[in-house]
């Protein structure tokens, strides 16, 4: 178990700068994730939400600044210590990231088989309990290829929590789901956090769903936090970027068009581009 820290925050992102291919993604990002809460990070597509998760999980290293996870600067950790820390973090990937050659049962059992020497009977018991919690105990024999998107994500969630982590991270958990699956995932995010007394980080751009589960939300744009607070605070924020994002307006401070030359000029001078 990671060393307990006095901080009320489980993850602290401090003045993080990060660029990719010369293009700045974050320019002084500061976010704090409270223990025991569901914290959401929202923002338009391409603002670096998934990149932020890469930094939080130690898969990416910031150019400047630091990311404290359980009080430890995650980018400065040796591989062994980083892996030790990750045993206490569960992550649900956007596409589930299930191992396609293993059954649902074996996917959920995978971390247990890799990190523990528990007897098969106990592993079976734990796996079935976790699958039951996400409503997929009956699908234990199925292969990932036979699952729908929503089912795959629920199996991913069962796997993410099989080691009883104290931090669950969700990368776009609501994308591409039908209304029933969406409702199931939304309820699971909240229920897992409260029932297991853990902390959750949800990265998403689905305003309605995030508003219904998050205790606190951050909105990032242009590499920085532009607003934070409860979902109500964000809905009432006067910032134009926040208003555009929360009400889903196509054009505004975040332009509809990717930076481009003049439309007519480009249409009329096609030959020049060749």
């Amino acid at each position: 178990m990671p060393e307990p820290t006095q901080s009320e925050y489980i993850v602290e992102v401090e003045d993080v700068h990060y660029s990719r291919g010369g293009k700045p993604i974050f320019t002084g990002l500061n976010i704090q994730f409270k223990r025991g809460e569901v914290t959401a990070v929202m923002g338009p597509s391409g603002t670096g939400k998934t990149t932020l998760l890469g930094l939080v999980t130690g898969r990416l290293i910031p150019d400047h600044g630091r990311v404290l996870v359980y009080g430890e600067n995650i980018s400065a950790l040796q591989r062994e210590r980083l892996y030790e820390l990750r045993k206490h973090m569960g992550m649900l990937f956007q596409a589930g990231a299930l191992l396609t050659d293993l059954s649902v049962f074996e996917n959920v059992a995978f971390p247990l088989r890799e990190h523990t020497r528990l007897p098969d009977r106990l592993i079976r018991h734990i796996v079935l309990t976790k699958l039951h919690a996400v409503g997929l105990r009956g699908a234990w024999q199925m292969l990932p290829g036979e699952l729908s998107g929503g089912m795959g994500r629920r199996v991913g969630l069962a796997r993410a929590m099989v080691m009883d982590p104290s931090l669950l991270i969700y990368d776009e958990p609501f994308v591409g789901l039908d209304p029933i699956s969406l409702g199931v995932i939304v309820r699971l995010v909240r229920r897992m956090n409260d029932a297991l007394d853990i902390s959750s980080i949800v990265v998403s751009h689905d305003v309605a769903e995030v508003s219904s589960v998050a205790d606190c939300s951050y909105l990032i744009s242009d590499g920085k936090v532009v607003a934070s607070g409860t979902p109500e605070d964000l809905h009432n924020d006067g910032n134009e970027v926040v208003r555009q994002f929360m009400s889903g307006m196509a054009d505004g401070p975040v332009p509809f068009h990717y930076p481009s030359p003049d439309y007519h000029e480009q249409l009329l001078h096609r030959d020049k581009e060749k």
Partner: protein, 256 residues
């Protein structure tokens, strides 16, 4: 500096970087191999995938290669009245040269592409990232067992190839062309030395390491898109073919 010289320099530097990365990757695989061998179930599964599932292509190609050697050998040797040496001719060619080389090329096409694509797709579908997040090193869990499976399979496949080839030469030489059966086997027995077989084994081990390493390296470093995985698979076959033939020349020269 002119543009072409700059491009040449960039290409050369990229080659050196990739070569350096390949060596570090290889050292990492070697470092993790002993612990992975303890979990032999993971390796045996890969021996089945890369070795057992390649048997059909290896056996059929070995058989026909041997049959061709039988025909050519008979045609050439009969001009000097030495057709009973057709077995020796085929066995020497197969154990020392064609067995290891052709097996490595077939291995690259059959098992190497599978390894590369499998690992590349795991990268593209976040399965490797998922493992990292579960505190499981994908190199230890995914790459090393596949590498070891390939390394252990290659000499066995080369032996099967050569054996089938000798059988093919026997079918043609003895069965079709009427070479005396006793002379076929006894000449082979008295003329093939342990050094010839050892050379074949050494080559097949070296080619096995090279072909498996290149396949898992390309797969692990594949760009995580459909096109990227396809490109890395193609590169696996092309680079392995060149490397195997270059290594073959070097090993043959060293063992003369």
């Amino acid at each position: 500096m002119t543009a072409w010289a700059r491009d040449l320099w960039i290409t050369f530097r990229q080659f050196l970087e990739t070569f350096g990365a390949l060596q570090l990757f290889f050292l990492r695989l070697l470092a993790y191999s002993p612990k992975t061998l303890v979990r032999f179930r993971l390796v045996s599964q890969q021996i089945y995938n890369t070795g057992a599932l390649s048997l059909v292509i290896i056996m059929s190609c070995g058989l026909f290669t041997g049959m061709v050697l039988g025909l050519l050998g008979y045609d050439s040797l009969s001009r000097y009245g030495s057709e009973e040496f057709v077995g020796t001719f085929a066995a020497l060619a197969l154990t020392k040269e064609l067995g290891p080389v052709l097996t490595a090329l077939l291995f690259a096409g059959r098992a190497g592409t599978t390894l590369s694509t499998e690992i590349g797709l795991m990268r593209a579908t976040d399965q490797l990232s998922g493992m990292e997040m579960m505190a499981v090193d994908p190199i230890k869990r995914v790459v090393v067992p596949r590498f070891l499976g390939g390394v252990l399979s290659m000499p066995l496949l080369a032996a099967v190839f050569s054996s089938m080839g000798i059988f093919g030469a026997y079918l043609v030489g003895v069965g079709l062309m009427g070479v005396d059966e006793g002379a076929f086997w006894s000449q082979m027995q008295s003329n093939i030395e342990w050094a010839d077989i050892r050379e074949g084994i050494i080559k097949s081990v070296i080619f096995g390491v090279a072909a498996s390493l290149l396949a898992v390296f390309e797969g692990y470093n594949a760009f995580p898109t459909a096109e990227g995985v396809g490109r890395s698979t193609t590169r696996t076959v092309v680079i392995t073919a060149i490397v195997v033939l270059v290594l073959d020349f070097m090993v043959t020269a060293a063992m003369l």
